[in-house]
Amino acid sequence: MAGGSSIDVLGQFELHPVLGGLGEALRFSQSPLYMILAACLVLAFLYFGMRPAAVVPGRFQAAAEVCYEFIHSMAVDTIGPEGTAFFPFIFTLFFFILAGNYIGLLPFSFTFTSHIAVTLGLAVMVFLLTVIVSLKVQGFRFFAHFMPAGASMFLAPLLIPIEILSFLSRPVSLSIRLFANMVAGHVMFDIFASFVIMLAGFGVVGDVFAIGPIAINMALVALELLVGVLQAYVFAILTCIYLREAVAH
């Protein structure tokens, strides 16, 4: 992470091909590897959690069921009765992001949600899904949403571009929110962690003072645990809200 006397806070975001030439040819870096790891962890959690399939669940099974019911109620409460159709998608989205955020908190690991390419890809996927669902459910009435009902006709030249712009900026804000949060958190980790190493060069006084950045990093881990679940939740709930607008008649 920290190299020598200078801080290389962005080095942690660099991509390296996995398996040498093969990874390079397939454009397979550690980022997809961690995506696979995240997906496998979530699937293993559900598989081993639900293996007893007991009527009275144990702790592990109860945890898996809580995850299911949390997302299910979020999807159905926000989207409405049509939410059950989108529930697997919301579940996938939430746990893909959550697992990515949390795996990234482990030392020496990689956070794929800290790459704008990944978050923008997810956001564009959500955006396209909402547009397709809107067109399928509402047809051409979908375009009427760009003119707020009851507004004066004189304001139309102003309102319609604003509405279109705000609609198109959804994937941008969705992706940058997650990306920026993850990058900021990991840059902070890196800064304070390298600071410990730099202080160590100042002898005994530096060793004593190094407790400060360590304590801050410990607090940051707690904060990042919150941010990780919060950002996954925000991404999922915004997707639900966009889908509710899409399925509304």
Partner: protein, 199 residues
């Protein structure tokens, strides 16, 4: 606690000053730019394709296998709970019905017992009344008999008294006059006197 706070505060101060020092000391750190924005790097754009493939696979496994499995368990549980509740409810209904039946039976038995008791009491009362009436009838018959006998005795006594009176009168008259009176006449006179006295 206070010592800890002091250490943290000192650490924060040192950190802030250190960070500013470092930023000044290493201007080259940010010069390379963010690796995330290096879109010429095929690995960066490759993430999108791989991400799409992995996300799709993740979605398919979740939506086709894992989530239905969890949903089934939850559904089974809610079905079983509602089934158990139904069984409990019907059992309670049966119990309520049995209790009601029991109470009805008790009430019926009580009513029957009351009726039997009343019947027996009535029968006893009737029998007693009948016996009393019989006794009264016998007693009144005996009283009437006795009165008849008394009257007969009385009449007989009066008859005898008439003879005695006639004899006495005859004896008195013969003693006083020395002449024996006619017995027929004496009897006639005694009868007249008796009728006169209205005995």
């Amino acid at each position: 606690m206070g010592v800890m706070m002091k250490i943290v505060r000192a650490g924060l101060l040192a950190t802030v000053s250190g960070v500013s020092l470092l930023v000044m000391a290493a201007p080259g750190a940010y010069a390379a730019g963010m690796p995330q924005l290096d879109f010429h790097n095929p690995l960066v754009t490759g993430q999108v394709i791989w991400g799409a493939v992995i996300f799709l696979g993740f979605y398919l496994v979740l939506s086709q296998v894992m989530l239905p499995r969890v949903g089934r368990v939850l559904e089974d549980r809610s079905k079983r709970i509602s089934g158990d509740l139904d069984v409990a409810r019907s059992a309670k209904q049966d119990a309520d019905k049995a209790v009601a039946e029991l109470q009805q039976a008790r009430k019926d038995a009580m009513a029957e017992a009351q009726a039997n008791l009343q019947k027996t009491l009535d029968a006893e009362q009737q029998a007693a009344d009948q016996k009393l009436a019989e006794i009264n009838a016998r007693l009144s018959a005996e009283i009437a008999d006795a009165e008849k006998r008394i009257a007969a005795e009385k009449a007989q006594a009066f008859g005898t008294l008439k003879e005695i009176a006639a004899d006495t009168t005859q004896a008195l008259v013969s003693r006083l006059t020395g002449v024996a009176p006619d017995a027929q006449l004496v009897a006639q006179k005694v009868d007249g006197a008796i009728a006169h006295q209205n005995i």
